[in-house]
Amino acid sequence: MNQRKLLDLLPRLTPILAVLISLLVGAVMLALLGTNPWEAYRALFIGAFGSTNALADTIVKATPLLFVGLGICIAFRGGVLNIGGEGQLVTGAIAATAIALSVPNWPGWLIILVALLAGTLAGAIWGGIAGLLKAHFNVNEILSTIMLNYIAVFGMNYLLRGPMMDPLQIKLGSFTPQTARLPRAADLPRLIPTRLHLGAVIAVILAVAVYILLWRTTIGFRIRTVGKSLRAALAAGVRTKRYMALSLVLAGAFAGLGGAVEVLGLHHRMFTDGSAFGFTGSAGFNGIVAALFGQLHPIGTIPASFLLGALLTGANKMQRMMQIPSALIGALNGLIVLLVVGSEFLRRHRIKHTQSAESERAETSAEEEEA
């Protein structure tokens, strides 16, 4: 019995094994560079979990991943690939910033509320454009979301070096492309005296909401049906195009809200370095990774985002303490993603063999009932 349990457990541990293997490969590369791998990984751990501050930074890093990841859960379950997280984060952030700057005298909670809604709406529109193009103009969403990312960035650059630029920057003559600081009343409350802000809590609550949406509502059921089999959905009378578009709208809304939260909770202003990455930290892409590590399940995406956030935060500390080229850490991240996603194979197979077929049958019948 015990042995059986262990065998069941083993495949579930393969992602961890995959991470260990990539770290081993990394260790060889570090050793070749003349760095002590043990010391380096110790730095990574300290950087991610070693102090209250480090832990707070990890959660701060994980927050936008979770927002984007939740949207990705919906999109992938609905059968659409949303590569547009970067652009949706940016549009959400810009909208939230514009609103917050235009009503500085409102009470703080009201500014926050309106700005978060504006960000959500802007992201939903940006995702919705891709949805509209897919539903009515036969434009593949991978193409449109990639293109919309660029359009959002150029739009942001235009606004930040033009109409939205901080008047102080013009007065000082430094022309840094950024807005003025948002009214302090609109700062999201900090949870403990670190950078940790309310955004993480909002994200976790929304994860539960997404779970309910996908598995406890008719809309969610239809979204998932479309994602599972277009033909079955059509046969069941689901308006597939409409639900694909809706998936993209929702994915965009979550990313847009994530962008707004980044502004109100962390940066308190909008800025650009010419690309989106300075603001997003590639959360639009890393959020996809987090969602898939989380098995495209909103609750699973919570720990997945946290661990990915820890890896990214710890890697920076590793660079600082060991003076390793940052690119090596980037390569390691890629390797970890490849190995973890590759190891899924083993996990799936073992579970398939051990899991009784009945449970699957139970699930499908339950879904039929829902319909």
């Binding site: 560079l33 036969n138 193409l143 660029y150 235009y158 996809i288 898939l292 991240n333 490849l338 194979f345």
Partner: protein, 307 residues
């Protein structure tokens, strides 16, 4: 707008389209067999780095080109192993491949070449006779060798995919792997071949930047071109000729927006820069009624013995 300007914009568009052509044709072949590789940009970067490094150290551009194709092939193999043998989710494997290629190329550049340098890449090669034809000659026949090869690739890819047994197998595997399998086609082998070939072409796409068009290497040289290449595959609806048209459209509008700025026409630069992206979407949307034959098994795992 005078003739010389139009000629300039068109010939610019052709140069800009070159890396997209290699990468997008490679990706088309892979996707037709059912494998999406979002990691094209990372593979291009590895190809660009290796081509530049080898050309710099050996002085041979051809060796650099071969090395880039080889490196691209290795990355294609990695992608094939993970997505075909390990049956991993393709979208995320591609993102992993991108991150790996971006990081590794920057890292290797930092420890082997260190500082930004330039080399003399493939020279422009005016085709005797043809380059003398007014207008046409200037637009099409005064480029470096990798530009010509990119254009030759379109009919070759068309022929390969539509007129050969291999092409038939690729399509069969992409449309209905179960049926292909029952007819004795080795699904895994076909996909390994297409994804590796796609990787090699992405590698060459990178080389076309580092040793033919730009003649340098630095961190993130491609600046996201690989993602545009993937988008162009959807623009072309998996048909090499339309992929080609998409690459030309995107690049020519890009050349046009450069000209708008150079000519001092009063458009905010950011708005000008958006043009290629907006026009590409709009043109595709305007063709909403076109028929698209998406490979039915795209982005899906194939496991023998399952329905």
């Amino acid at each position: 707008m005078s003739w010389s300007i139009i000629i300039g914009i068109l010939s610019s568009g052709i140069r800009l389209a070159t890396p997209y052509l290699y990468a997008a044709v490679g990706e088309t072949i892979g996707q037709l067999s059912g494998v999406v590789n979002l990691g094209v940009d990372g593979v291009m970067l590895m190809g660009a780095y290796v081509a530049f490094f080898v050309a710099l150290r050996t002085g041979s551009l051809s060796l650099g080109l071969i090395a880039a194709a080889g490196m691209g092939g290795v990355f294609g193999l990695i992608m094939a192993f993970i997505s075909v043998t390990l049956k991993a989710e393709q979208g995320i494997s591609g993102i992993g491949l991108y991150l790996f290629g971006l990081g590794l190329s920057t890292f290797l550049f930092g420890i082997t070449i260190r500082n930004v340098q330039t080399i003399d890449g493939f020279p422009d090669l005016a085709i005797p006779g043809l380059s003398r034809i007014p207008v046409i000659g200037e637009i099409f026949f005064q480029h470096n060798i990798l530009v010509y090869v990119a254009f030759a690739l379109i009919p070759i890819a068309w022929f390969l995919l539509n007129k050969t047994p291999f092409g038939l197998k690729v399509r069969a595997v992409g449309q209905n792997p179960e049926a292909a399998d029952s007819l004795g086609v080795n699904v895994a082998r076909v996909r390994y071949l297409t994804v590796t070939l796609g990787g090699m072409l992405s590698g060459v796409a990178g080389a076309s930047l580092s040793i033919a068009l730009l003649n340098t290497f630095q961190q993130n040289l491609t600046n996201g071109m690989g993602f545009i290449a993937v988008a162009l595959v959807y623009f072309g609806g998996w048909r090499p000729v339309l992929v080609f048209a998409g690459a030309l459209l995107f690049s020519t509008v890009n050349a046009l927006q450069i000209w708008l700025q150079v000519a001092g026409i009063n458009v905010p630069s950011d708005v000008a820069l958006m043009l290629p992206y907006i026009v590409t979407i709009l043109v595709l949307a305007a063709m909403a009624k076109r028929r698209v034959n998406a490979p039915a098994a795209l982005n899906k795992r194939f496991e023998r013995g399952e329905s």
